[in-house]
Symmetry: C2
Subunit: 178 residues, 2 copies
DNA sequence: GGTTGACGTGTAAGGATTTACATGTAGTTT
DNA sequence: AAACTACATGTAAATCCTTACACGTCAACC
């Protein structure tokens, strides 16, 4: 259900879009939160049009572009989902899994992997902060910036992952020496 | 592939276990990183036994308990996966998705959702710190504690999530007032 | 005039994941 | 003695997700 909600949220926040645009946006905007390929997005949009959560409109010259708009029913679905007290919170993080397993390697090798991991997080952090800078630059401090909270969370978690990776590497090195 | 690796990692770090124990352990130990139900774990274990990554042994009195042990080949798989620089890092986070969508609600309602979220994380944090206290109590400072790294990461990320939820609620309330 | 790359939509097959169904033992509480 | 909870394993169906296949337009560059 999450993909459906994520798509509705995109449409609600950034206005009518094509499936192609939504796919791009997933890549650029909430890639650290959720991923979806166009092969999953197109059928989902069709299903949502069927159920009345969105409306479709044929647009764009010769290239059969379709523009989707969220309906009131669709907005309701978002609210239902966000406020719904589903105790289950799915979370899957391959980076963290790697970090979890890394102590199984010989200490020096493990530490190296963690340093590498930390570096990767540093790069990601730089990228996220650049996006934040760009967003901040073109909006006022009181503008309601959709996605800003999620971006903030992305930055915070990336910082934690980076620090943790380095601290773990430190610990592994300490243990490796003794 | 990630589930397979996660299971191998569990077996490698905590020794031979039954599918049931692994399922419990997923719940208790890396729930913030990865989830798996027993219905996915049992077939995966069977598949791994087939391919030689683990060995099976029937154990436990009347209750058909099966104990799985990771083989050298299985350990190799872990090392391959951890050190292999697969550029793709899958990540899915429903909490963050909520954060992404929450600005679509009326500010007061949105803030309430975030407070609720924060409380949930506070509860989880208490649970994790209790586990840590128990682990610390029965191990020396230089004992090789594999789970400690993962637990540490869990605590750190939970703290961040809690703070973020509260800060987001603050911001939403601030905006709501103006 | 041809090639390349971005735009644009879709389906098929296979694997991953969740929910529900199904079964049975062992220990503890009422 | 009956009920309840934890232990313990599995399968079936449905859904989600990824990879690969497939088709066609438009604009820019060479």
């Amino acid at each position: 259900m999450s993909l459906r909600i994520a798509l509705l949220g995109m449409l609600a926040s950034r206005g009518p879009s094509s499936g192609y645009e939504l796919a791009k946006r997933f890549e650029a905007s909430i890639n650290h939160i959720w991923q979806a390929k166009h092969s999953q997005i197109y059928p989902e949009l069709a299903k949502m049009a069927q159920s009345g959560a969105v409306t479709v409109e044929d647009a764009g010259g010769g290239r059969g572009r379709k523009v989707y708009t969220v309906t009131e029913a669709g907005r309701d679905e978002i609210v239902q989902w966000v406020t719904g007290e589903d105790p289950y919170r799915s979370a899957r993080n391959e980076t963290a899994l790697r970090g979890f397993l890394v102590p199984l390697l010989p200490p020096d090798q493990a530490a190296a992997v963690m340093r590498d991991e930390a570096e990767r997080h540093a790069e990601k952090l730089a990228k996220l902060e650049q996006i934040k800078a760009e967003v901040d630059a073109r909006t006022g401090p009181d503008d309601p910036v959709f996605g800003a909270y999620a971006l903030d969370l992305g930055i915070r978690t990336t910082i934690v992952l980076q620090q943790w990776a380095n601290d773990t590497a430190d610990d592994l090195e300490r243990r490796g020496r003794s």
